[in-house]
């Protein structure tokens, strides 16, 4: 019987995002040459939120992109083709930019590996940061996040669901124990 517990409610998520936005600006030493790239699907909405928060503080718009990594997955052979869910669109040239990859949950690291490969096909950023709302551990690759909303300990079979208002009607992060 799976049990669901809340990791972040609406207010906790708002606080986490606000802190993440200022951490991004701090790490990048300002918002010049900064670009946020959300990973389909919910990374896109989170990137959008972070961009709005940064704009409020810094007074300038942050270029925003989205990435669908389906075609860069390394498990096509074992799971078969997935429907390609979303578009990939980057707001401009990546060369020399500071790119912040935004995703909802960091787990094995394979999605981020795919995202790094995909970004490399678009250009050569000066730096790439990784920003995730929930880090649930369980890495299979040497990949770590630079900016983290919250950390939760999980075991295999657990699920972490991030919900966003735009798509799901509410802001929250839930842990579903198997």
């Amino acid at each position: 019987m799976p049990t669901t517990s809340r990791i972040l409610d609406e207010r906790a998520m708002a606080r986490a995002l606000a802190r993440m936005a200022s951490e991004i600006v701090e790490r990048c030493q300002g918002s010049d040459d900064l670009m946020l790239v959300g990973i389909q699907r919910r990374g896109v909405e989170l990137a959008q939120r972070l961009a709005e928060l940064i704009q409020k503080h810094e007074g300038r718009a942050v270029p925003l992109g989205k990435l669908d990594i389906t075609l860069y997955r390394d498990d096509l052979q074992s799971i078969g083709p997935r429907p390609v869910v979303g578009e990939t669109s980057l707001p401009g040239d990546l060369d020399g930019q500071t790119v912040v990859i935004v995703d909802d949950v960091l787990y094995t690291g394979r999605t981020i590996r795919a995202a790094l490969d995909e970004l490399a096909d678009f250009g050569r950023p000066r730096r790439i940061f990784l920003c995730v709302l929930v880090d649930r551990g369980g890495r299979e690759l040497p990949i770590q996040a630079d900016v983290v909303g919250t950390t939760v300990t999980t075991t295999q079979g657990d699920r972490v669901d991030v919900l966003v208002r735009e798509r799901d009607g509410e802001d929250a992060a839930n842990l579903v124990r198997a």
């Binding site: 075609l71 096509l76 083709p81 429907p83 990939t88 995909e118 096909d121």
Partner: protein, 318 residues
């Protein structure tokens, strides 16, 4: 493991409306891949694909090859000239020999109707029909559907007239199946000698005057008049065909609304279609070609899930 489409793509007749829609939806993100500066994604890395063309083709073969390369597959082209096919090797022997080299997919064009299915039933690799005789040319049907959907935002309820040599056309057959399954209204228009019998029973309207088709349709799909049909006595002369059935600017100007013109190529300018139509504002002939690559990428990608398991094959052979 079976993919969304099963093992092979033989024709649109064998697909459901949902499967056709899934291919068209999958093609959308692949359009964008071809606009990137590095036009390549690693989705089919390590897959080996043979393009087996027993009939001349420029557009379809190149389109498949681009689609394969943009998905990072390894490709080999085999044409009937210059291969052991010209020494009399049978289709199945050729394919079995290729398969013994552990290929994953075969794209086949053949002059005999049913060749793709015949091959698909006899080898483990995925088989994609790139045109078999007078039967089907499913990826052409799909790219026509995608082009219409791009232009009108829907297929359902659209009125499409397929004009010209429907009798000998695999493009027409794939279009009729695809359009009917997605809920379009379909008419065919041409001289009685070039229209097959029995289409009415599928729900297809038959017309014999190009003016009627232009007055009725949202889109015309103008087929190539295969010039070798002249000798068969199907049409008296090319000039007469153009005078009676040619899609000309004058005729299009009398259309009640905006009308879109498709042509699968290669065109006989001045026969079934006039140059000022082919190059004019009604034409979506070049977008069709662009969409062809995206649709073929989608088909290859979706079929890749049903790839053969070579380890069990090797065990069988022992």
């Amino acid at each position: 493991m079976t993919s969304l489409l099963g093992k092979d793509l033989i024709g649109l007749e064998g697909l459901t409306a949902d499967q056709i829609t899934a291919i068209l939806d999958t093609a959308e993100p692949f359009k964008e891949v071809s606009e990137r500066s590095i036009k390549k994604v690693p989705a089919l890395r390590g897959k080996t694909i043979v393009n087996l063309f027993f009939e001349a083709s420029t557009r379809t073969r190149i389109s498949f090859e681009f689609a394969e390369k943009r998905l990072s597959a390894d490709t080999v082209n085999v044409a009937s000239q210059g291969s052991s096919v010209s020494k009399g090797e049978t289709l199945v022997d050729t394919a079995r020999n290729l398969e013994a080299m552990r290929i994953d997919m075969v794209v086949i064009r053949h002059h005999s109707s049913g060749a793709a299915q015949f091959l698909g039933e006899r080898i483990r690799s995925n088989v994609i029909n790139a045109g078999d005789g007078k039967h089907e040319h499913p990826t052409q049907g799909l790219l026509d559907l995608l082009t219409l959907r791009d232009r009108f935002g829907r297929i359902k309820g659209l009125k499409v007239a397929i004009c010209g040599d429907v009798l000998h056309s695999r493009v027409a057959r794939s279009n009729i199946w695809g359009l009917l399954k997605l809920g379009a209204q379909v008419a065919v228009c041409g001289p009685p000698t070039l229209l097959p019998r029995g289409l009415e029973s599928l729900g297809v309207t038959v017309m014999h005057h190009i003016e009627d088709a232009i007055g009725w349709a949202d889109a015309l799909n103008v087929l190539r008049l295969q010039l070798e049909r002249m000798e068969g006595g199907f049409v008296p002369s090319l000039r007469e065909y153009n005078r009676i059935f040619g899609v000309t600017r004058e005729r299009l100007e009398r259309a009640p609304g905006d009308i879109v013109v498709l042509h699968p190529g290669p065109m006989n300018r001045g026969v079934e279609i006039d140059s000022d139509v082919a190059d004019g504002p009604h034409s979506v002939i070049l977008p069709q070609v662009t969409n062809g690559v995206a649709v073929r990428m989608a088909v290859l990608y979706l079929l890749a899930g049903g790839a053969p398991d070579w380890r069990s094959q090797a065990a069988d052979e022992r």
